[in-house]
């Protein structure tokens, strides 16, 4: 929150100071960049940077489909990017303005091609996995020393959840992440688009629903860090940020992130330029700035997410590049799965199921 306020204050101050200067408007996920990079960009280019944040792909997508969002750079995740490209929401990147594109990592590019063929519309910003954030001390206190800290059974087995309820469990409010995880848990194809298979997810959530305190996609960072909850299903880097905030607070809360052994969803956040961006030229400058090896490394070192930038790896801190929770080893990488976007009819089934899971109606 403090960071947001600072950003907001900085943006306002700059707005007041250079109302006529060239500006670039960036719309990125919350808690997702080292704020120093924003100042650095303004100093290097003289472009006034306006930086806003969101915490759900749905909000971003609605702005994109309504058109006229006024943003020059936005950061949708892979499946959402693919759908918005189809809708004609983005413009093709002008590679001649992006010399730093050579820094990108082919391992990631190969995977993002399934959403954005030839990576013509987007560059990878960060990628990560969806898994379990665990307050080790509290969970062991409740479930004993042999608690399954790295298995989906921690959150999908009612026997575990009944006990965990007393210390608090949050789930992501993101059906496109939670339903594949539930399907994976019961051995179905997590990327299934078959409504009958998707419906089976309800059977996973129904018995544990009474023990879930909240469905939310950003509150769990602070809730985990200050010990208000003991388990969260969340995004890898967010949980690692919670770990660091707990360390800083010195409140004896030990948080770990585990990608479930059953398999974890791998996702990619891609930077793209809306088709109606007011300043596409400035947007390219921002993308090129982000793809600079040292800048990208600074961002990853700050937010604890892996990036798709090969050249940045030599500047990464050891506790980032060396942490298998961030840069998984080969064996874990094998075990990760990706999903593809639902069409409108299946999306309705998924949303309806999610409402039913959350509200019981």
């Amino acid at each position: 929150m403090k960071n947001h306020l600072l950003t907001a204050a900085a943006s306002l101050a700059l707005l007041a100071g250079m109302a006529t200067a060239e500006e670039v408007r960036v719309y990125n996920w919350s808690d997702y960049i080292d704020e120093d990079l924003l100042t650095k960009f303004q100093e290097e280019t003289g472009i006034n940077l306006i930086y806003d944040v969101f915490d759900s792909n749905e909000v971003l997508e609605t702005k994109m489909l309504a058109g006229g969002s006024g943003y020059d750079v936005v950061v949708p995740s892979g499946t959402f990017l693919q759908r918005q490209i189809t809708a004609g929401a983005f413009q093709k990147l002008d590679m001649s303005k992006l010399p730093n594109i050579e820094n990108m990592w082919d391992v990631v590019e190969k995977r993002t091609e399934q959403y954005d063929p030839d990576n013509a519309y987007s560059i990878n910003y960060m990628w990560g996995t969806t898994g379990l954030g665990v307050n080790v001390g509290k969970v062991k206190e409740v479930l004993g020393d042999d608690a399954p800290l790295n298995s989906l059974s921690l959150v999908f087995d009612p026997a575990n959840m009944e006990k965990l309820a007393e210390c608090g469990v949050h789930f992501l409010d993101a059906p496109a992440e939670m339903i594949p995880a539930a399907l994976k848990y019961i051995g179905e194809d997590p990327n299934s688009h078959d409504p009958d298979v998707i419906a089976k997810a309800e059977g996973v959530f129904a018995p544990v629903r009474p023990y879930i305190q909240k469905f939310h996609s950003s509150e769990y960072i602070n809730a985990l860090a200050n010990g208000n909850i003991c388990v969260a299903v969340g995004w890898s880097g967010d949980i690692l940020q919670a770990r660091d905030r707990a360390d800083e607070a010195g409140n004896d809360v030990e948080i770990v992130y585990n990608a479930p052994v059953e398999g974890a969803q791998m996702w990619f956040d891609q930077m793209a330029i809306p088709v109606d961006a007011p300043n596409p030229d400035g947007a390219h400058k921002f993308l090129n700035f982000i793809m600079d090896a040292e800048n990208m490394a600074a961002a990853s070192n700050y937010v604890y997410y892996a990036n798709g930038n090969k050249a940045s790896q030599e500047y990464l801190l050891e506790d980032v590049i060396g942490d298998p929770a961030i840069y998984p080893d080969e064996a874990t990488l094998e075990n990760l799965f990706t999903t593809t976007p639902y069409d409108a009819r299946v999306q309705r089934v998924v949303t309806r199921l999610w409402t039913k899971i959350k509200s019981g109606t």
């Binding site: 759900s56 749905e58 909000v59 997508e61 609605t62 994109m64 489909l65 309504a66 058109g67 759908r83 189809t86 809708a87 004609g88 929401a89 409010d173 059906p175 879930i212 305190q213 909240k214 469905f215 208000n228 088709v275 409108a344 999306q347 309705r348 949303t351 309806r352 999610w354 409402t355 039913k356 959350k358 509200s359 019981g360 109606t361």
Partner: protein, 296 residues
């Protein structure tokens, strides 16, 4: 001529700020979804001339309204919103009436100060005030700390993310809308009527029920509508203070719009919400008119 202009102004106002936006929403509710910008079809293509207009109208149908009847989610959400709006209106009245009565009974020199105290919270952003309630009601919040300290409870109460928190939020937020019209009605009350009632053998309590309450009826009605109408479509309070199980039509609308990207169904939900609201709005108008006539 002047008369005509005077009549035309409110109608033009209504046309620009209500009817045109409503027709746009109604039009979207009759469309179909599309993966495009904007995400629905048909859009009016005036470049194609008459054929474009014709294609536009043949593309519209009532399918989305039919769809709303096929899933119990929608009527359950409408009913649950009605219930929450109704109960919170009654609670706001029970809290607001004594406040307004106290203000009206206070000495003249005190009244501007009391009035200021009711209005003052408005000077802070509504959102910040709702966030403050999150801090008060959470498990580690001020309320629980106070209750634990006084020993009223041994375990912190779970209030945040429940329906109780939604009621507290709505009553708190809309309280001034209830207090001000009732105060306006009570302030005009002629004291001699109460004296006459007591002279005729009425006790103070029955004089209150037989004289004060009926004479403040117009204020009560106005206050109730001013609370009920916005509370029915409330979105911010249930999404910040309510839990995942709090079912309100505002949240359903959000999901249609954002999660399903289905603007047509979202618009159909909004059109029906408006139709439900039209009845209380008309009743409210009639009450206002009656009151104006009574005042001559």
């Amino acid at each position: 001529m002047r008369r005509l202009v005077l009549i035309a102004v409110p109608y033009l106002w209504l046309l620009a700020l209500f009817l045109i936006p409503f027709l746009i929403v109604l039009k979207i509710s009759l469309s179909d979804t599309a993966l495009a910008i904007p995400p629905y079809t048909p859009t009016l293509d005036l470049g194609a001339g008459w054929a474009g207009v014709k294609a536009f109208f043949t593309g519209l149908d009532f399918e989305n309204f039919w769809f709303l009847t096929t899933d119990e989610l929608y009527w359950k959400a409408y009913l649950s919103s009605l219930q929450i709006a109704l109960l919170s209106t009654i609670m706001t009245l029970m809290v607001g009436y004594p406040i307004a009565y106290g203000m009206a009974q206070a000495r003249d020199e005190w009244r501007p100060t009391l009035m200021l105290l009711v209005i003052l919270p408005f000077w802070t952003s509504f959102l910040i005030r709702v966030y403050a309630w999150m801090g008060i009601l959470s498990r580690e919040g001020l309320l629980n700390q106070f209750l634990l300290w006084t020993g009223v409870t041994n375990e912190p109460l779970t209030i945040l993310n429940t329906d109780t928190a939604v009621y507290i939020g709505i009553v708190y937020t809309y309280l001034p809308f209830m207090v001000l019209p009732i105060y306006a009605a009570l302030e005009k009350l002629d004291e001699s009527l109460l004296e006459a009632a007591e002279d005729l053998g009425c006790s103070r309590a029955s004089a209150f029920w037989l004289v004060t309450v009926p004479l403040s009826k117009s204020g009560i009605i106005a206050g109730c509508f001013l609370v009920f109408i916005p509370a029915l479509g409330e979105f911010v309070i249930p999404s910040l203070l309510g839990g995942s199980q709090t079912l309100m039509i505002g949240k359903v609308l959000w999901e249609e719009f954002f999660n399903n990207r289905d603007w047509p169904v979202a618009s159909a939900v909004a059109v029906i919400l408006l139709l439900i609201l039209i009845i209380p709005i008309i009743l409210f108008q009639r009450n206002e008119q009656k009151q104006r006539e009574a005042e001559g």
